[in-house]
């Protein structure tokens, strides 16, 4: 959901595909790890993990940037992203 929202907010053309047994083979062709999400680029590269995906795409699609201009804010934004990914996912998993 995080990566999908990123693609939409940046207007990066994409197709959203639910992973299930019918596309397992295609998934395995591009994925190095059994992990979601997987982005397959138009030139056939697989990228996994929402943080590396966003890093890679930010370098390709500069505007609108998802990083604030001010360096302290850039750091705070990275810290809060990490907090979301690694700690807020605990309540998600706990409640589910």
């Amino acid at each position: 959901m995080k990566t999908l929202s990123y693609f939409r907010s940046k207007n990066i053309p994409h197709e959203w595909v639910l992973r299930n047994p019918s596309n397992m083979e295609a998934f395995q062709k591009y994925a190095k790890l059994p992990q979601f999400p997987l982005v397959v680029t138009p030139d056939g590269q697989g990228i996994q993990g929402s943080t590396p995906i966003v890093e890679k795409l930010e370098a390709l699609y500069l505007e609108p940037s998802i990083h604030p201009d001010e360096p302290t804010a850039v750091f705070a934004s990275a810290l809060l992203e990490e907090y979301g990914d690694e700690w807020v996912n605990k309540p998600m998993f706990n409640y589910r």
Binding site: H14, L18, L60, Y61
Partner: protein, 341 residues
């Protein structure tokens, strides 16, 4: 690579998340992979569309144009004409295309009564929906001011309930329709299973728009989670079907029981409603009533729904040859034929 966000080179879709028709059109554009910007209509951008009459959501602005358009059904057909053969949502077979139109019409004009009824009937739903909608539409208010906006909006919507038929007297008929639609869809829908094949049609998107909002308001959400969870999952899946690739049923294929059941529901509920509305309009009456197996139903007479009936008959009348005969037989079996001939 810089993707422009200001240039007028993409579709611009203004809507709200609580609006079933906004959800419907957004899902169509996503499925069809039509580049667009989805913009919540708020107090900050309201001026952009103040000239629009009627001022209804969603509104769509085409690339390179400066005016907005409304009404999702003609918009969906116009997008077909503008982008032919690009992930069309109209079945290839003309008979199926007609049945698809009929079911979309029922979703837009009849299932929407369930959406409106559940949203503004019980106190818990009113409270939830009023604040949800105020949160989206009035971002520059906080606290008591936002609460006041929510109350004002709820009062206005609740005041409209009798005109559109969402009254306590009509509730058994409206709720029965909702439960029957859920039971039918529950027997069919999945990531890859739709009403006219393994790809979604205009009818699927019409139902989706209503169900997406029904699956968010508390009471109908609870009903769906208790009795139709696959349908709730489907409403999430269809919100973004940009990765779905499928096929249409052929004209002579058996229709799924769910599709036939929905047509029978149109024969039981929707078409008698359209006929009674049109008859009242002919007599110049401001309201009309009819009696269903589940009880009485009455509401204000609507010109728009007379147009819906005329359009259904026009489309049915345009069928010819084998498709006409086959469709006539399906309509006969599902109790729809008399109203459409």
């Amino acid at each position: 690579m810089i993707i422009s966000t200001d240039a007028n080179d993409r579709y611009r879709l203004l809507g709200t998340l609580g609006s079933p028709y906004s959800m419907k059109l957004r899902a169509i554009m996503r499925y069809r992979r039509l580049p667009h910007d989805w913009v919540l209509r708020t107090t900050r951008n309201q001026a952009e569309t103040e000239y629009m009459k009627p001022n209804l959501l969603p509104m769509l602005r085409y690339p390179g144009e400066d005016r907005y358009r409304v009404d999702t059904t003609p918009l969906a057909y116009d997008l077909e004409a503008r982008h032919p053969r690009q992930r069309s949502i109209i079945p290839d077979d003309p008979g199926l295309a007609f049945l698809c139109h009929l079911l979309e019409d029922m979703a837009d004009e009849w299932l929407t009564k369930a959406m409106f009824h559940y949203r503004w009937f019980h106190a818990a739903d009113i409270d939830y929906a009023a604040h949800w909608i105020a949160d989206d539409a009035f971002p520059d208010t906080r606290g008591a001011e936002r609460d006041a906006m929510a109350t004002h909006f709820a009062d206005r919507q609740i005041g409209r309930m009798p005109i559109v038929g969402c009254t306590p007297e009509n509730a058994p008929v409206i709720e029965d329709s909702f439960h029957r639609i859920l039971a039918l869809l529950e027997s069919r829908v999945s990531v890859y299973d739709f009403l006219f094949g393994s790809r979604p049609s205009l009818a699927d998107f019409g139902l989706f728009g209503q169900l997406k909002t029904l699956a968010t308001d508390p009471s109908p959400m609870a009903i769906m989670r208790a009795s139709a969870m696959k349908t709730e999952s489907w409403a999430r899946q269809l919100d973004d079907a940009s990765g779905i690739e499928g096929d249409w049923l052929a004209g002579g294929d058996d229709l799924p029981p769910a599709t036939l059941g929905l047509l029978a529901l149109a024969g039981d509920y929707y078409l008698p409603f359209l006929l009674a509305n049109a008859a009242a309009m002919d007599r110049g009456e401001k309201t009309f009533s009819l009696t269903y197996a589940k009880g009485p139903y009455s509401q204000g007479t609507f010109g728009y729904q007379v147009k819906c009936l005329i359009e259904l008959r026009r489309r049915f009348g345009e069928l010819n040859g084998e498709a006409a005969a086959r469709t006539r037989s399906i309509l006969q079996k599902t109790g729809c034929l008399e109203a459409l001939s």
